[in-house]
Symmetry: C2
Subunit: 325 residues, 2 copies
DNA sequence: ACAGTATTATCACATTTGTGAATAATCAAA
DNA sequence: TTTGATTATTCACAAATGTGATAATACTGT
């Protein structure tokens, strides 16, 4: 029982010790050979063995490169306040993960103590929250802006996201205790006005920033559809009204007009008017081929403050904008 | 806009390129200097710069060392089938994380395609699932064995855990759509029999393994209490009956007798009888000072198949067992 | 205990790397 | 354009590392 495996483990320990002395503590192989009690030559050989055995893990952290020219173009063309466009690095990392990282970094620049921010969920927002690194507690109120209780089939739980971000910011989460969409507009209104949700809806007026993803309204790409938030009928209605995408509960067409009002009425969450009235800065994060049209629509609504995307997507949005004016 | 930051970024890119050539591709500094077009001396200096700037991240992966002697003692003393006891490494890593890793590894040895397994949540189980590394899809049914919908204040979401493990095993999650505990035993029974949960409860009979954490019943340590699953009154009842710990919905005293039956009756989940009858192999993972007594109680119930813990805890359990026979 | 195998030590030498100091090139701002 | 300041080059040498060949030692299984 102590035979074969035990020897291997002991060896791995030795390799780890030697590797740590060398790579982490920066000792010379000669000094390590003294401490460990083997030849210096052997230390050299142990080090290569350590790397072969996977005891040493070396990773290179590449900077995220932004393209400020294209960002300026986007800002000017659509009259938005800020744009962050990062270059895609095909071989190195997942663009979605990078989008999350750079969105998290951007968000961090915006927030300051005691702020109130809201989140409109989506996969990019999830990636942002995951990439967000905790540091100083900032006492920030993090509001869930749309209901979502039944995330059984979804790949993320909205409450959990709100909680995680609040935790990382050293703040407080505020949930909406309701489903995303109801059958009846009256029920939706009732839930918005329900005492359990009163807190969040009152706080919305204090919101300085909203972190938002953009949703597609095609079955194949819509996470909201896949998560069961929207059903076939809902999508059909939206498509009929020429919706090209949405942010949480409201939708817009390619010209940036708000459409699908009757869907919005049935949704438990912040209305698009609230965002316009309160002049909240909306930070929008999205990327990918199937997000080009939705992003263009969103930019034209004049509700976007900051757009964060990758170069590929940004270029497509610009050229699509030129085609469809 | 392209000035200062852009230079820095360019520099970081260079550092990353050089570091990758050197550390990852294993090129010599001389050959790198040719490619990049700088002096060889400069390459040497760039490499140290890269490490100082945090461009190069080196980590040493230490083997987890197990103590098979103590494991044998535990197995013999309590008549359980397997025990994995790992040595604590004070300086190197969090023991909780290590517990998760070794539990995940052990679990991986047990499972094979098309199995059905159940999970009884807890912090150690969360850490296990987080540490579990996805590889071949095994088509495993992962059952949530206890209800839990209102995890607002909890640091983990049970559904999410079930989903994540199922995903990592390439299988299917089965949820219990109910709260953990009800006020009324009849409501609990009703929920167990409810069509929405029928699926899970039927599948329990196919369960080969259960991954379980052990809960404390003291306010300060009980995650279930902190998560609002159990309230003051519940804990009081359990303490009155000399409960020392629990696994999901059932509790036991220091002698391994099942207690708190009326609490168990109000809980929506698998009963302790089901586990005994079906002869399911229960893999228990827990560690820490405040888990010593609960672990001892659990071992004495004869429902534990495998115990995974650290050396410190294992020793305490053994000596406590000698004191209290 | 012993043969056979695997591992490490020993030694010697070639490569590779680190570093100081002086010089040259580059760059930003006046 | 000139001037400081920063940054890289050049060169030379010391220090550290990699590696082959052989001898010594440790380990395994019978």
């Amino acid at each position: 029982m102590v035979s074969k495996k035990s020897v291997t483990t002991k060896r791995l320990e030795l390799l780890a010790d030697v590797a740590e002395s060398y790579y982490i503590q920066g000792k010379t192989q000669a000094s390590i050979s003294d401490e460990v009690g083997v030849t210096r030559s052997m230390v050299s050989r142990l080090l290569t063995e350590a790397r072969n055995e996977g005891v040493v893990e070396i990773s290179i952290i590449r900077p995220i490169i932004t393209d400020d020219q294209i960002a300026d173009q986007i800002m000017q063309r659509f009259g938005i306040r800020n744009a962050v466009i990062f270059e895609n690095k095909p071989q190195h990392a997942s663009s979605n993960k990078t989008l999350g990282q750079i969105t998290a970094t951007t968000l961090k620049k915006y927030i300051s103590p005691n702020m109130t921010i809201g989140i409109i969920f989506g996969k990019a927002v999830r990636d942002t929250i995951r990439a967000f690194e905790k540091d100083k507690p900032l006492n920030i109120k993090v509001l869930q802006l749309f209901g979502a209780v039944d995330s059984t089939s979804s790949s993320y739980d909205v409450r959990e996201l709100v909680r995680e971000l609040a935790n990382k910011m050293g703040g407080t989460p505020y949930y909406i205790n309701a489903p995303f969409i109801m059958k009846n507009p009256d029920t939706a209104r009732e839930l918005r006005e329900n005492i359990a949700n009163k807190g969040v809806f009152n706080l919305i007026h204090d919101c300085q920033y909203i972190l938002a993803g953009i949703g597609s309204i095609h079955k194949q790409h819509s996470t909201f559809y896949q998560a069961g938030f929207l059903n076939d009928e809902d999508l059909r209605i939206l498509q009929q009204q020429n919706a090209v995408g949405g942010m949480g509960g409201y939708h817009f067409d390619i010209h940036g007009n708000i459409v699908g009002q009757e869907i919005e009425n049935r949704i438990v969450g912040i209305t698009h008017e609230a965002i316009l009235n309160n002049n909240i800065a909306t930070i929008v994060t999205a990327r990918g081929e199937n997000k080009v049209t939705p992003i263009l629509g969103a930019l034209r609504t004049n509700m976007v403050h900051t757009l964060i995307t990758d170069l590929e997507t940004a270029k497509s949005v610009l050229s699509l904008d030129e085609t469809l004016h």
